[in-house]
């Protein structure tokens, strides 16, 4: 395998991993506050669809991004209302969000299938992108890749050293106690959920405006679910999400690697790889039961409503 191919593979890995990072970071924050939102797939698709539609209609990809973020937040508000205010079963509600989002995105996007747009171009950082190998791999990406790194750093810092991070963790561990000491549990959870929605919507926009600038039904192909697995794999730690996302990204582009090595394989069999990798990862993480228990937010998935 020649050098250029190797560079290209690394470059592609980073691009492929970016939507996963965005979704996973968003869901991590949401889960740290104790809420399990299984509706990622639906929110991502809504972001992709509405982002694409907005970009086509207004002619500006940037507006598409904003529309996508709003779409994700709107969907997540729906989820928050049911799961937090109406204390519904979070698993079922998340599934409902996925099914609804998948259907609604398909419905709204029906008239836009097959259209092509400009998309968002890569933005090579001056000087740095001229460094051999690293310049291409790290500094010649589109703005959203850089943004994903920025979000990672922000969230890492938030949970390490800020009061907000502490508050979210407290709510996720023991909402009863948090309420008793005066933390507005419902507000915190709404905020965390909305953040997750915004990130998911943004990831959707990445798919339809940058990665493959087009819309088609179900184009996220399960990335939302993989991102959920990623959060578990990362033991709710931001740095591990980065690592895991790129590993999955690599698994997704295996066909490039194999081509480079001179192998031919059925695309369908190769397509199984990321999903199989996810299962393996879940097994590895779960086997260390004691460690898993210590890092899971204790109140994750349990409906809670303060009693007045």
């Amino acid at each position: 395998m020649d050098f250029e191919l190797f560079t290209n593979i690394l470059y592609a890995t980073l691009r492929t991993g970016t939507p996963l990072i965005l979704i996973a970071l968003g869901e991590m924050v949401c889960e740290k506050s104790g809420v399990l939102n299984l509706g990622q797939e639906g929110m991502v698709l809504m972001g992709a669809a509405l982002g694409f539609i907005a970009a086509v209609v207004t002619g500006h990809a940037g507006l598409g991004i904003i529309a996508a973020i709003l779409a994700g937040m709107l969907m997540s508000v729906l989820f928050a209302f049911l799961a937090v205010t109406l204390v519904s079963n979070q698993v079922a509600t998340g599934l409902a969000l996925t099914i609804f989002g998948t259907g609604l995105s398909g419905f709204l996007g029906a008239g836009y299938v097959g259209m092509a747009i400009e998309g968002i171009a890569p933005f090579p950082i001056p000087f740095l992108s001229d460094i051999p190998v690293i310049g291409k791999v790290l500094f010649s990406h589109d703005p959203l890749v850089y943004f994903s790194w920025f979000m990672f750093a922000l969230i890492f810092w938030c949970f390490r050293s800020t009061r907000l991070g502490l508050t979210i963790r407290a709510v996720g561990e023991n909402p009863e106690a948090a309420n008793a000491i005066g933390i507005p549990v419902m507000k915190v959870r709404y905020g965390a959920i909305l953040f997750g929605g915004a990130m998911a919507g943004l990831a959707g926009a990445y798919l339809s405006l940058v990665y493959t600038p087009m819309w088609s039904e179900g184009m996220s192909a399960g990335r939302g679910w993989i991102a959920l697995a990623l959060v578990v794999f990362a033991s709710w730690k931001a740095e591990r999400i980065l690592l895991g996302a790129y590993l999955f990204g690599a698994a997704s582009i295996m066909h490039l690697v194999l081509q480079g090595l001179g192998f031919e394989a059925s695309p369908n069999l190769l397509a199984m790889l990321p999903y199989g990798a996810t299962i393996i990862v879940l097994v590895i993480i779960a086997s260390d039961a004691a460690k898993a228990k210590l890092s899971t937010p204790l109140a994750l998935g349990q409906p809670y409503r303060p009693q007045v």
């Binding site: 009061r163 963790r169 407290a170 561990e173 008793a180 000491i181 005066g182």
Partner: protein, 535 residues
Amino acid sequence: MNQIELHNITKRYPGCIANQAVRLKVDAGEIHALLGENGAGKSTLMKIIYGVVKPDEGTMFWQGQEISVKGPAHARELGIGMVFQHFSLFETLTVAENIALSLPKEQAKSLELLKQRIIEVSEHYGMKLDPNRYVHSLSIGEQQRVEIVRCLLQDVKLLILDEPTSVLTPQEVETLFKTLHLLAAEGCSILFISHKLDEVRALCDHATILKAGQVSGHCIPKETTTEELARLMVGDDTPLTEDYKKAEGAKSFLSIVDLSHQSDDPFACALKNISLEVKAGEILGIAGVAGNGQEELLNLISGEDTSAKETVFFAKKAVGNLTPEKRRILGLGFVPEERLGRGAVPDMSLQDNALLTGYQGELTKNGLINTNKVKAFAQNIIEKFNVKAAGIHAQAKSLSGGNLQKYIIGREILQNPKLLVCSHPTWGVDIGAAILIRHELVKLRDEGCAILVVSEDIDELYSISDRICAICDGELSPLAATHDVSINQLGMWMAGDFHAVNNDSKLANSSELNSSSELNSPATNNSAESEGAIK
């Protein structure tokens, strides 16, 4: 001018009136007790003062001004601090982080400065704390200190403590009382919620007694007899003395031999070389503060956790590796600590819950459920044990704590167990149900059943146990006949000091303990020199 005054406070919940027209007055520097049995409304009243719950009627005055407490943060601003019965702590955070969360932003800006303050304040009041430790690694007594220090850091003018001593060894109670006296001397008001008369008489200047949500009296505890206090708490028709004869068991039924066990759970307590024996026709009581291995030990007896075969024996048969249903066939009955969510399924009916442990007898045949027999069994439990419920179809969660506990105990007793294991049998249960439960346990013992009771209620253990011991840090103290063990001795055992020889003259009092156990007595030993091994 009083520090705090409550007028006509009323709070209603669907199905009950938690507080009705309650009046309360506490002065600066006064230690005021709020007495009452489980379910009398004490916790609700405190939640109202702290702003967690809003009253339906009534007013509150703080330092002469009428106020409405908007929430815990507002209460803290006013200078009201609360130490809950169930700690509101975050186990995966450190002591400093926990305290930082409950302080307003400005005060918690620098974590380093906060840690300094924590060390200073906690030492000043005799409650040493290391701010960098994770809360899950602290003992229950230490966790309570975090709750108290949290309040102290906010310039507290009124400190409310909700049943603080139920999780402490007698020696730790001493330390707590010293701290409270110090605080009161500095001008802080203290509201002490309890149902333990002896402690209230030792500590408090004034008392308000609540019964069924209403104020049944005010008094000065030191000038009031235990009997008068008890009467105010429970009314005139409940018997005050429970007079149980001690018995000696016959043949050994339950035998645990050199059991050591470490569960996979990182939060669990490891058991070390536990050996005990419970004979048919006796009650063995195990005292101990929560978190010292009771949970783990009981799981190994019930079969929910298994160990090596030859560590646990039922009537000489090795059962250590058997799962619960097999042990039940051999005669085990078990009443766990959690009634809703383990002892009974909250959303299922009483009828279904009867089947939960009774499914190996006549209630099923070849895998099919005999619905009529199940209904009859459930009905029988309700009648024999005076369970107030809307019928066998009522959901378990709709029953009050006392009634559900009666149902669960009744379910086990009516299956004629040879060994009945009870964990905290009257915790959170109203006085009527508690008396019935203790009565039934003694009756069962007299019929030849071997009974093991684990409890934090030392008075109860003294009342019904024939032999007694304590568990601390996964190790068991020596076992002895109840009348040979003084409270002080038991306290030392509970703190882990198994070898101390108690030369205290109070040992002579043991004859009083033997003949009549008054409601919530005997008197605490106030003159303990050593503080024991405080963990």
